[in-house]
Symmetry: C2
Subunit: 263 residues, 2 copies
């Protein structure tokens, strides 16, 4: 099977133009086939604030109301997505900027049945991802650049977690490709001590993950990312790596970062 | 040769959700292959105003500075584009939202050498449009939905006139398809008397165009649209029609609207 790299870039990397340029230069050297999934960084929050739209929070959870949906669609699928595409094309990577709504490439449904109404938030229907369409693009050495917006079957757009999109794509495509899923951001990996950049945990197993969670080493923000990772591995994804966006080539070619293994 | 419809929708249609929904429902019934090119309506101006960014005008011409470029990229390639895509997919049309930067589908260069510096504005390099890529999508019955943003060879994004994009695509694709180019908006066609909606001019030839211009019947805003149309016809486009977005099917199937013919 052909190897496929699915790379999610997020965190502060997207907010800093220089960091992002450096990352894209390194990303452009990763062999095809590959998929880039991006978040939106703090730009959406900034635009909201400048427009005078307050972030709606319920029980500490962000709610996507109609105005917020418009802003994330503008920022993620418009500004961030097309800026990346322009730069990757210049770097010689044929890139196609999409969101999940395009060709219904990432089918989703509005989240319901939760205690909190999250608003216009999408849950991915992984089993309905059109694998042949994805494989068709990847076989042509087209690099899809994916913004975290999806659409429900009624055509309405939905704000969708970028980590989950990367994991769902990895799971859908791992019957056709040998998939390595990489979550990269501004840190070198999962840290034993959040204040010590040199304390990267090189390998996490399901057993050590339990211990790291119960001892509080793995913090709130990292848990959904790791849960997405385990789900991917349990469903046949070859490898999951968490590490620094600016060391993306080393994450692939050497043993930098944090690797998740089943045993 | 297979018939291809390239339809540009603009004007007030985009600003009114109900008008747009009605248009998309009618558009979805046009046979494949087809391409939809959209402008951004007044949404970009509204967002600019709410963000406190003033429209920069020089000699009555709008200038695209860095902030304006960000806004039009957000609004055109993000909000307007993906909203249309979600709705068309629901209507059973497999739609792919793109801008000219994606896969470099509409190569452009920054406008230079003009008396006024227009800022980040793109002029299309029609001869470099990758016809095979477009034909590949159209042959799969994918409907491209095109936002009027392009990229220069340095990867930088550029604001680009949607009427010109539609005309350039028509010219590039008319060796492979029999192309009908339709400009549709909120009026029934080119009007003899702007105050009389029933005064549609059914046919314009190059000769009558000269007379209509010199007599002042054809007004400022319509001239670039008609110049784009003539260029398309002179370069092999089969037909150009100008008419009402809400009568799009009748524009194709009967003789409504204004038709441009060489003689």
């Amino acid at each position: 099977m052909r190897e496929l790299f699915i790379i999610k870039v997020g965190g502060n990397v997207i907010d800093d133009e220089k960091d992002m340029d450096l990352f894209l230069e390194k990303f452009s050297k990763i062999p095809f086939p590959k998929i880039l999934v991006h978040g939106g960084g703090k730009i959406a929050t900034e635009v909201s604030e400048r427009l005078g739209i307050e972030a709606k929070m319920v029980d500490g959870k962000r709610i996507t109301d109609k105005d917020t949906l418009k802003i994330v669609t503008m920022v993620y699928a418009g500004l961030v997505n097309k800026t990346i595409v322009g730069k990757l094309n210049r770097l010689g990577n044929s890139s196609l900027g999409i969101c999940g709504a395009d060709l219904n490439l990432i089918p989703a449904r509005k989240r319901t049945g939760t205690a909190i109404d999250y608003g216009y938030v999408g849950d991915i229907i992984t089993s309905e991802i059109p694998v042949e369409r994805w494989a068709g693009m990847l076989d042509k050495d087209i690099c899809p650049v994916v913004a975290p917006i999806t659409a429900a079957s009624n055509g309405g757009l939905l704000n969708t977690n970028a980590d989950t999109i990367a994991s769902a794509l990895a799971q859908a495509l791992c019957k056709t490709f040998k998939v390595t899923l990489i979550y990269c951001f501004e840190k070198d990996g999962v840290l034993q001590n959040p204040k010590d950049e040199n304390s990267v945990i090189p390998v996490i197993t399901p057993e050590s993950y339990m211990l790291l969670k119960s001892s509080g080493v793995i913090s709130k923000g990292m848990i959904p990312k790791l849960d997405n990772s385990w789900e991917a591995i349990r469903n046949g994804v070859y490898k999951v790596i968490i590490g620094n966006a600016n060391k993306i080539n080393e994450l692939i070619n050497s043993n930098l970062g944090t690797r998740l293994v089943l045993k």
